[in-house]
Symmetry: none
Subunit: 230 residues, 2 copies
DNA sequence: TTCATGTTGCTTTTGCGTTAGCATGTCCAG
DNA sequence: CTGGACATGCTAACGCAAAAGCAACATGAA
């Protein structure tokens, strides 16, 4: 799967990210691997990206993101099967409320990062948590996502809002869901079951509905609440 | 993903806030990063705001607020250090920003009934209460209103949402306010100061802006947050 | 009004990712 | 053995976006 050097580089990047929060530059990576030229790094990075181990923004400095680590997570894009790769975060652990002082009707739910409402992009930011009144949530396990983009704007969900998501694999037609597409991109959309296919509808005329086969999309939760600050 | 400088600046601001309770000025930030011009800071701040790491009041001095910290590297939310922000500030409540979002407290605020977003309806004096995370609110006294009608729909405020209102008599142009008209009808609208008159703009093309004289309208609070259940 | 401070519009500089071109070494098939 | 595929190594030039700098302007508080 991965060559020696690729593996080495991937680990280095991941370490750097966890450690300092900023991805290393080509210069630093070159040093770390003992090379004298950046172009080798460039090829390694490209290879890693091709294999979906990392993601990057083109032409951006220090804009790397680790999607999965070499050991256990070896799975390519398999559109057909529902082989359950562990749905939890690929990199980080989120301790689920250690001692939340079970007093009032308050729950502390993990904030899993941002979710694209526009073009599907998933990003994991910090591992912070959000306190919400239990009254806002139904039964079940929940998590929060910061909404990014404006594709759900007609549903009253704006960029920067916090979406409270109830963890579930099933949802009914017409509900707003977090959908994982091709096991790699998460997006917030209206769910429309169209016979054997699944349609993901944005709430913004400027975006197009997306249609997928049953195996291509996995529901990761449904909209349970919303928080906004002014 | 944050760039190096953005990361650095964010940490500095957060530190300053936790330390002194007042956000640094552009001048101070420029010094802290070793720059010679404020415009660099301005752009960094803009970038941070765009990515929802900080929030700010436009055209206000030292009005920054850290929404979240960067991943890795930095000490994460400690419930204890946040508490001592406000108590010491005697009278100078001018532009001091609210506590960082790491605050885990929950406040109970009174639910005053429904407010018309459509035709103005009197806000009744109900007695129920609503628990909201303190992180959603700024400083000051708050109350909640259930939104009725669809006149603010383009602002992402839907019928049935709970509007969290900060009690105040003053508001600036462009803010969403609770306005009491002729001492009898309350409504939720965008505030537009038009010279000597006051315009209340709905966020729905189907409704007309309303124009009043200065004496006809009294501000009862401004939008501080929003809760929605699905 | 004055002072402090935030905002904007440029230009310039710098950091760093991208590419092209070429050289090795290894493994495997012919 | 030979040739090709492939991973890796190097240098150097290229180009974009972030950052820095300067300076005039706008705004809020006192």
């Amino acid at each position: 799967m991965l060559t020696q050097k690729q593996h080495e580089l991937l680990c280095f990047i991941d370490e750097k990210l966890k450690d300092s929060g900023v991805s290393p530059s080509f210069e630093e990576m070159k040093e770390a691997l003992g090379l004298k030229s950046k172009s080798g790094i460039h090829r390694l990075i490209s290879a890693l990206e091709e294999r979906h181990f990392i993601r990057r923004l083109p032409n951006r400095a220090r804009a790397l993101e680790v999607l999965k680590l070499p050991e256990g997570g070896v799975h390519e894009a398999e559109p057909s099967n529902v082989i359950s790769l562990h749905p939890d975060t690929p990199v980080r652990e989120v301790a689920s409320s250690p001692a939340p002082a079970a007093n009032n009707d308050v729950l502390e739910i993990p904030l899993h990062g941002r979710i694209a409402a526009g073009a599907p992009i998933e990003a994991m930011e910090g591992q912070s948590a959000l306190s919400v009144p239990a009254a806002l949530l139904g039964p079940g396990e929940h998590y929060a996502l910061e909404v990014s983009g404006d594709s759900m704007i007609d549903a009253g969900i704006l960029d920067g809002d916090y979406a409270l998501i109830q963890k579930t694999e099933i949802a009914r037609d017409g509900e707003i869901v977090v959908a994982l597409i091709h096991e790699e991109e998460a997006t917030l959309k209206y769910l429309r079951k169209d016979g054997r296919s699944i349609r993901l509808d944005p709430a913004n005329a400027a975006y197009e509905p997306q249609i997928y086969g049953e195996g291509e999309v996995r529901i990761q939760g449904k909209m349970a609440g919303l928080l906004r600050r002014y």
